[in-house]
């Protein structure tokens, strides 16, 4: 207090300097904060640079022929076959199965939660969805292998369904993505203003007509974004397919046989002590780059849809 008083009297005697003083502490802190903000750019640059560099090395390897990569239907690093198709088709297969489960279920649950459920039911169901979303994917992998696969084998016969198959991995992946699609869709539906619904009821719409013909179209951009994010998540999903979909690339669209997806392959290859600069080592970078680009494009599309087609209500 005394110090402050002293300062004040000092200032009164001299001419008061109103110019902004430089505060070095503030500048340093601001620089540190900027660095923190910029740090994530380094992550992206790191991904692009490292994955790109090693992927380039992969394509330059003598045993890898660029044309083969996109035309050959065999991926067998030890015989020099690097066709991406078998890995690609199984990724496509698991993703399709997952989305065939997650889209209809997820939309139905979201519509139920947002349009039909009473507040009490809602407050009970939302946490259940959050729990589902918080369960680690390896647990879903265990579920696929010890529950879904035996179930499928019982239904379709043990001769038809192999122990490791893309079908059970895809189905369980659908359950994994269900809460994601539900919560994003539900957010979009809840954002549609009450007045729209009341107007529709006013001209005599039934509950279903209001939900499907008024609310859903109004929230369509959010729903589309949810579906695309779901697809991107399914493509990048790893542990379920690593546990349940089988080891070894297989060029097939039969969901009852084992086939390795891109992510499953990366995990299996890097499971052992991978030696640097081997074909296997470089190949996971090429596959990782492929995954990165595909999911990035999907995410950007989803963001663009939201920005571009969002119906804005006051």
């Amino acid at each position: 207090m005394a110090e402050l008083a002293l300062k004040n009297t000092e200032k009164q005697t001299s001419t008061v300097n109103l110019r902004r003083r430089p505060r070095w502490g503030e500048t340093v802190i601001q620089a540190l904060l900027f660095f923190s903000g910029f740090f994530s750019i380094f992550t992206t640059l790191g991904i692009v640079y490292e994955l790109g560099k090693e992927a380039l090395l992969f394509f330059q390897m003598p045993e890898v022929k660029l044309l083969d990569v996109f035309t050959s239907t065999k991926w067998q690093p030890h015989t020099g076959n690097f066709g991406i198709w078998p890995l690609f088709t199984s990724t496509l297969l698991t993703t399709t199965i997952a989305m065939a489960i997650a889209i209809p279920l997820g939309l139905s649950v979201a519509i139920y939660l947002s349009e039909y459920a009473k507040p009490r039911v809602r407050s009970l169901l939302k946490p259940i969805l959050e729990i589902l979303a918080g369960i680690p994917t390896i647990v879903y992998g265990y579920f696929a292998l010890t529950f879904m696969t035996p179930l499928l084998r019982q239904i379709f016969g043990r001769d038809v369904v192999q122990i490791y198959n893309t079908g059970s991995a895809g189905l369980v992946m659908g359950l994994l993505i269900l809460p994601l699609i539900t919560s994003m869709t539900e957010d979009a539906l809840s954002a549609v203003p009450r007045s729209l619904r009341e107007a529709a009821y006013g001209v005599g719409g039934t509950k279903l007509e209001v939900a499907l013909q008024i609310v859903v179209p109004a929230a369509l951009s959010g729903i589309a974004a949810a579906v695309i994010v779901g697809i991107s998540r399914a493509i990048g999903e790893t542990m379920i397919v690593a546990v349940a979909a089988g080891a070894g690339p297989n060029f097939t669209l039969n969901p009852f046989v084992g086939a390795e997806t891109i992510t499953g392959h990366i995990v299996r290859i890097s499971g052992g002590d991978l030696s640097y600069d081997s074909v296997d080592y470089n190949s996971i970078f090429a596959l990782g780059l492929f995954l990165f680009i595909v999911t990035l494009v999907l995410n950007i599309i989803s963001q663009a849809i939201v920005r571009r087609f969002r119906e804005v209500y006051e």
Binding site: S36, T43, Y112, M239
Partner: protein, 413 residues
């Protein structure tokens, strides 16, 4: 006349419309029930795997180890050590002595060793909880017929011993202590990297950043990073932390490890990799928390002459902290459950010693679950189920603390 027909048509139609409305209502409800059923099935399936009958045969009958009428369970430490010395080859005995002198081991540890190395119970067959409850008689009959020498016990694979024992290759003596400690060590470095940078970035973006192209790129980039598959982070971690920064992440530059065996596949690399993975999530959550702090609070602070940083440090951060911590806990629980990036970074397949420094090799709980699930034998599936229960309890308590934090400290403006 025409109007009447329209009205009539409308009335006729009305019933069909209401019927359709009810039908779809049932469909929506059924979907919700399917979702709940899936969660219940998931939980029951795990519990089903973690308990049940197990038939096992001992390589050496414990009764033959009785000395002076004292059964092996009650023998003193000296007797047990003597038994080990006389039964094991001198090389194997020396190796155990080198790992940790017998004098320093507790009686329990020595007894474990006797069970592990001499009695060696081998699992013959495993049953899940459901058949164990419903067909107990049939199981007993099968065991009596097929494995006359085997013992049959109803056990819980999840025990306190299971949580405190280190990892081994035998199903009966395996535990998850190594994995739990590995997870905790890893998460420590994840938090050390991601929390300060994450909160710093959120403060920058919410409080300092002007609306220009650079800051828009930073924001977009963070949103996109949140959607990158976790395995891609694993590959990045392999290239940068394990390989390029090997001298640092293996502890070589600190002179802590022998340069010839130095390896970047350490706790530190794993933690930093997961740190990069959860960074965007922490930033986005922290941004939301900071955004919820009302403008008036800042203006009041500026009004009494505080600088920007003083305002942020003394007013914005304390107010936003419960929200930031909740978001961080949720991000950390995501990191604890991550498996794929750590497999790529190079988690060890079988280590039985606890991680002791940032430069230790590591395994984590999800990795352990993955390895046990991937093994064809049923007993390891049961171990996987038991470790899933451990992991879920860990995550559930983290999430519960996040919810508590949110309810207790959050203030509405």
């Amino acid at each position: 006349m025409k109007e009447k027909a329209v009205v009539q048509g409308f009335a006729n139609n009305l019933e069909a419309r209401h019927r359709r409305s009810t039908l779809w209502r049932v469909v929506f409800q059924a979907s919700t029930i399917v979702g709940i059923f899936a969660l219940v099935a998931l939980m029951i399936n795990i519990i089903n795997g973690a308990f049940g009958y197990v038939a096992y045969e001992a390589k050496v009958d414990p009764d033959t180890l009785t000395v002076d009428g004292i059964p092996v369970q009650e023998q003193s430490q000296e007797q047990l050590v003597a038994r080990l010395q006389s039964t094991l080859s001198s090389g194997a005995y020396k190796k155990l002595e080198n790992e940790k002198p017998f004098a320093q081991r507790s009686r329990e540890e020595v007894y474990q060793l006797v069970v592990e190395r001499i009695i060696r119970p081998q699992v013959v067959e495993v049953w899940n909880l459901w058949p164990s409850l419903t067909q107990a008689d049939k199981i007993r009959a099968t065991v009596a017929q097929d494995h006359p020498g085997a013992e049959l016990d109803f056990i819980s694979w999840l025990t306190t011993d299971f949580v405190t024992r280190p990892q081994t290759s035998e199903a009966f003596t395996a535990g998850v202590r190594t994995a739990i400690l590995g997870s905790l060590w890893t998460i420590l470095f994840t938090i050390l990297l991601a929390f300060p940078i994450g909160v710093g970035a959120a403060i920058y973006l919410e409080e300092y950043a002007a609306d220009n192209w650079l800051n828009r790129i930073i924001q977009t980039n963070i949103n996109n990073l949140a959607g990158v598959p976790s395995i891609v982070y694993g590959i990045l971690g392999l290239a940068i932390f394990v390989r390029a920064l090997e001298p640092l992440t293996s502890g070589e530059v600190f002179g802590l490890v022998d340069p010839t065996t130095a390896n970047g596949r350490t706790v530190l690399s794993a933690g930093l990799t997961l740190g990069l993975l959860v960074l965007p999530i922490i930033i986005i959550n922290a941004q939301e928390a900071i955004r919820a702090v009302p403008r008036s609070l800042r203006n009041a602070s500026y009004g009494v002459g505080a600088t920007k940083w003083q305002t942020v440090w003394s007013h914005v951060l304390p107010t936003a902290m419960p929200g930031i911590l909740t978001g961080t806990i949720l991000a950390v629980s995501r990191a604890i459950g991550e498996t794929a990036p750590l497999v790529v970074v190079g988690a060890s397949t079988a280590i039985s010693f606890d991680p002791a420094s940032p430069f230790s090799k590591f395994t984590t709980l999800p990795i352990q679950i993955y390895q046990w699930t991937s093994r064809p034998q049923d007993e390891f599936r049961s171990l996987a189920a038991a470790s899933i229960l451990v992991l879920l309890v860990l995550l559930l308590s983290l999430n519960a603390s996040a919810v508590l934090l949110r309810n207790r400290f959050s203030r509405r403006f």
